[in-house]
């Protein structure tokens, strides 16, 4: 007998009540925990401390929702029913402890509910039909055989994995099937399947057509409907559990307009799987996690091409295992002789819904001519049959590349050289004695070079400047020479006044006069003669008496050098010379 607990626990702005049932349930059925919220507006309730109850667990974290609205005298009231499905964890007399529910920041508490959990239920119990078949009694078909069949009708679900122990990375075939007694009908309307979250597993779904097979279980003939098939790959080693899958099935014992459809809840048992780590010993350095059995085959479309042409290399990995671990395949060994262009994402072919072949296509464009062995890529994998690591076999295809028009046109395809060629051309090691053990040189700074440049530059500038200054000074003296000619001359004449030597006096006087003209003309006095002076006076058309006076003074000096004279005549000559020179200087100015 089934009945429902109902209780109103709080009344405020929103009236909240709880409803739990049925109170008698099979281990593979659900208990519904309903939160009914009445009032204006509502908010999704949640368990602030989580669902509390060791004997039950939430089959789904989010509840089913039903809403209804009523308007009475213009007053609008809303009713929301949130239904949580609880999965019993053990059989016997169990209790759902008081739960705290929070709605709009306010906590509401339910009371505790006692329930009874029975054995796994497979049979489809005949409910009190809401609609009885009116023709059933009329045609008298309620025969004993049919009643017997209905009483034995079963429906249950099972999740299956072939083994309980797998290696990390090994594909785990997982399937979920519904077993039913032939004749039990299931309709999609109202039926739902809630698969578990495959935490700790990578899941790859395999397409199925919900195939139905007849099987014999416990001496009964049943129909097995494959509803889910997938491959799981454990992401870590250790004891892992696949949680139960939960079903809500709408079933009937017969088909037809008057079929008695009813809803039953079923769930699978949790599956415990032991995931073994891959052995550490013998693990190759290039092992990327491939587990299974694989082989690499390939095809090169040409055996001879010219530079500038391309060859197509198809690489196929065939086998069973986790093809996901083979996401990338490259040809590093060929990279130095060829430009490699991959043909995009690899193509995966499936067999029985499971990947069985992965194909990569590469275009190879040679960089240089020659004969090459195009090697298929190799990789390491863990072989499940031998429980050892293996490497795919070496397979090469010969390819001859001839020089062609593309040689010039293609130009420097790349500056790369193969490691082999580079290794062959590598200069050999230095041999002989070790030599100095500390070659770290304390380098002389190049600063002295700047000092040399700067020093010489400065020196030469100084020399140049000195030369210029001297020249300027000399030029300046030459310019002032004519102006100072009379002054110098008179000064010399003054000095001659104290000259005792007769000849030296007259020679000095004549010399002073010619020196005056030398200064005036900017020339050396030695080359100047009396005729030069006369010529100059004539050319300038100067006063002839002045010229004559000068000639007289000079000739007097010449004659007097060789004839004795008194001191008085000497001073007279000096005065005449001064007067004549002053007058000449005035005229020449």
């Amino acid at each position: 007998m089934k009945w429902w607990w109902l209780g109103v626990v709080s009344l405020s702005m929103a009236q909240v009540s709880f409803n739990v049932g049925p109170n008698v349930v099979a281990i593979n059925e659900y208990v519904q925990f309903q939160v009914i919220v009445e009032g204006k507006g509502s908010e999704l309730p949640h368990f602030p401390q989580g669902f509390e109850g060791a004997d039950f667990s939430l089959a789904r974290s989010s509840p089913d929702r039903q809403s209804s609205m009523t308007i009475v005298n213009g007053q609008v009231s809303q009713k929301m029913v949130y239904t949580y499905l609880l999965k019993p964890n053990r059989k016997g007399k169990v209790q759902i402890p008081a739960q705290t529910i929070r709605i709009k920041g306010k906590d509401y508490k339910s009371r505790a509910y006692a329930l009874e959990v029975g054995d796994e239920k497979r049979s489809v119990g005949r409910q009190q039909s809401r609609r009885s078949d009116p023709f059933e009694n009329f045609f008298g078909r309620s025969d004993r055989r049919r009643q017997q069949r209905n009483a034995n009708a079963e429906i249950f679900v099972e999740a299956e994995v072939p083994k309980t122990s797998y290696y990390l990375g090994e594909p785990i075939p997982f399937s979920v099937k519904i077993y039913r007694t032939p004749g039990v009908e299931i309709t999609n309307s109202g039926s739902s399947m809630d698969l578990p979250k495959f935490d700790n597993f990578w899941s790859e779904e395999i397409e199925t057509n919900q195939e139905i097979k007849r099987v014999r279980r416990d001496d009964k003939v049943l129909e097995a409907i494959l509803v889910d098939k997938r491959q799981l790959f454990a992401s870590k080693s250790g004891a892992l559990t696949i949680p139960p899958a939960n079903f809500q099935l709408t079933v009937a014992l017969s088909r037809g307009f008057f079929a008695d459809w009813q809803t039953v809840n079923r769930s699978t048992k949790p599956l415990k799987i032991d995931i073994k780590p891959l052995p550490a010993s013998g693990k190759p350095a290039d092992f990327s996690g491939a587990v299974g059995s694989f082989r690499v085959v390939g095809e090169l479309d040409k055996s001879k091409i010219a530079l500038g042409e391309s060859a197509s290399l198809k690489v196929e990995v065939i086998g069973k295992g986790n093809f996901n671990a083979l996401s990338e395949l490259s040809l590093p060994e060929l990279g130095h002789q060829f430009e490699i262009f991959d043909g995009g994402a690899p193509v995966v072919e499936k067999s029985g819904g499971v990947p069985s072949k992965k194909t990569w296509v590469f275009a190879l464009v040679p960089k240089r001519e020659g004969k090459f062995d195009i090697a298929l890529p190799q990789f390491s994998y863990f072989d499940l049959k031998t429980k050892t690591y293996k490497k795919t076999e070496v397979k090469t295809f010969p390819l001859e590349v001839e020089g062609g028009e593309g040689l010039v046109a293609s130009g420097p395809v790349g500056g790369e050289r193969s490691p082999l060629m580079a290794s062959q051309n590598l200069n050999y090691i230095m041999q002989g004695p070790l030599g100095p053990v500390d070659m770290s040189q304390k380098l002389r700074s190049p600063r002295p070079l700047f000092w040399v440049i700067g020093g010489f530059l400065l020196l030469n500038l100084m020399l140049f400047a000195g030369r210029k200054i001297r020249g300027q000074m000399l030029g300046s003296a030459a310019q002032s020479r004519p102006k100072l000619a009379l002054k110098h001359c008179l000064k010399t004449l003054d000095q001659l006044g104290s000259e005792q030597d007769h000849e030296a006096f007259h020679a000095g006087l004549a010399g002073a006069i010619f020196a005056y003209f030398g200064d005036k003309w900017g020339r050396a006095a030695q080359g100047i003669s009396l005729e030069d002076v006369q010529d100059f006076f004539n050319r300038k058309a100067l006063d002839k008496t002045l010229t004559q006076s000068l000639v007289d003074v000079v000739e007097t000096c010449e004659q007097a050098r060789f004839t004795p004279a008194s001191a008085g005549s000497r001073s007279q000559v000096l005065d005449e010379a001064r007067q004549v020179l002053r007058r000449i200087d005035e005229v020449m100015a």
């Binding site: 580079a422 090691i429 040189q441």
Partner: protein
């Protein structure tokens, strides 16, 4: 006593060197690497050791350490043809293309002409030429305009200045400590010093870069073509 000890140490280092060379000749490159590394650990700073170590790494298929040791050898033996050629050879096998400006440009063009000479020789020749040019300028400065002095000044001056510039470049290169080599197979150069930063570009083992600045755990680097960004310090090793 000290002299005896020193003699023993040098003899031992020479023995390790010979064992390394023998291992290399026998094709046992791993052993050769161990021997050369031991010499370096013992404090030997020899371009010859770094060069041989670079060769051993190259033969063992480790491009990053090979180039790192070639560059270190080049610092100690600038102008050595073998080192230069092997650097070129190793660079051509790396995944990243050789950036044109790595071997083009003024610096490398000048190198082609003058890197046959060591820094000391370059310095000395530049010094002498500049002195000659300076002396030749003296008579000209004094106004003695003799044609020979003019020729001497121009030739010695131009050569001296050119060699002086090369000397400067060499000095900067030999004393710089901001170059590094990528040691990992592949690394992403990021826009900033954090793993969450977007990737600017990706470089591979063996490429040389200049370190511009550093943050804890990160270097900001620049390639010869001007590309720059941040990468983990653990991915490169300073030359």
């Amino acid at each position: 006593m000290m002299l005896l000890l020193l003699t023993l140490i040098v003899a031992n280092q020479d023995a390790v060197w010979q064992v390394g060379n023998d291992a290399y000749r026998d094709g046992d490159f791993k052993k050769a690497i161990t021997q050369y590394e031991q010499l370096i650990d013992d404090g030997v700073k020899s371009g010859r050791v770094y060069y041989n170590l670079g060769n051993a790494y190259f033969k063992a298929g480790e491009l990053g350490p090979a180039l790192l040791n070639y560059y270190r050898a080049e610092k100690l033996m600038p102008g050595d043809d073998d080192i230069r050629q092997n650097i070129e050879m190793a660079n051509e096998t790396r995944r990243d293309p050789v950036i044109e400006s790595e071997r083009a440009g003024l610096g490398m063009a000048v190198d082609k002409f003058f890197f046959g000479l060591s820094y000391q020789h370059l310095f000395l020749i530049a010094f002498v030429l500049l002195c000659v040019a300076g002396l030749a300028a003296i008579p000209l400065s004094l106004g003695k305009k003799h044609r020979v002095w003019g020729y001497v000044l121009v030739i010695a001056g131009v050569l001296g200045l050119a060699l002086g510039a090369v000397t400067m470049l060499q000095y900067q290169r030999l004393t710089a400590n901001d170059a590094a080599v990528v040691m990992v197979n592949q690394t992403d150069v990021l826009a900033g010093p954090a793993p969450s930063e977007p990737v600017n570009f990706t470089i591979h083992e063996g490429i040389r870069c200049q370190i511009l600045e550093q943050q804890p755990g990160w270097y900001r680097i620049r390639l010869a073509n001007g590309y720059n960004g941040w990468l983990p310090q653990s991915d490169v090793e300073k030359i």
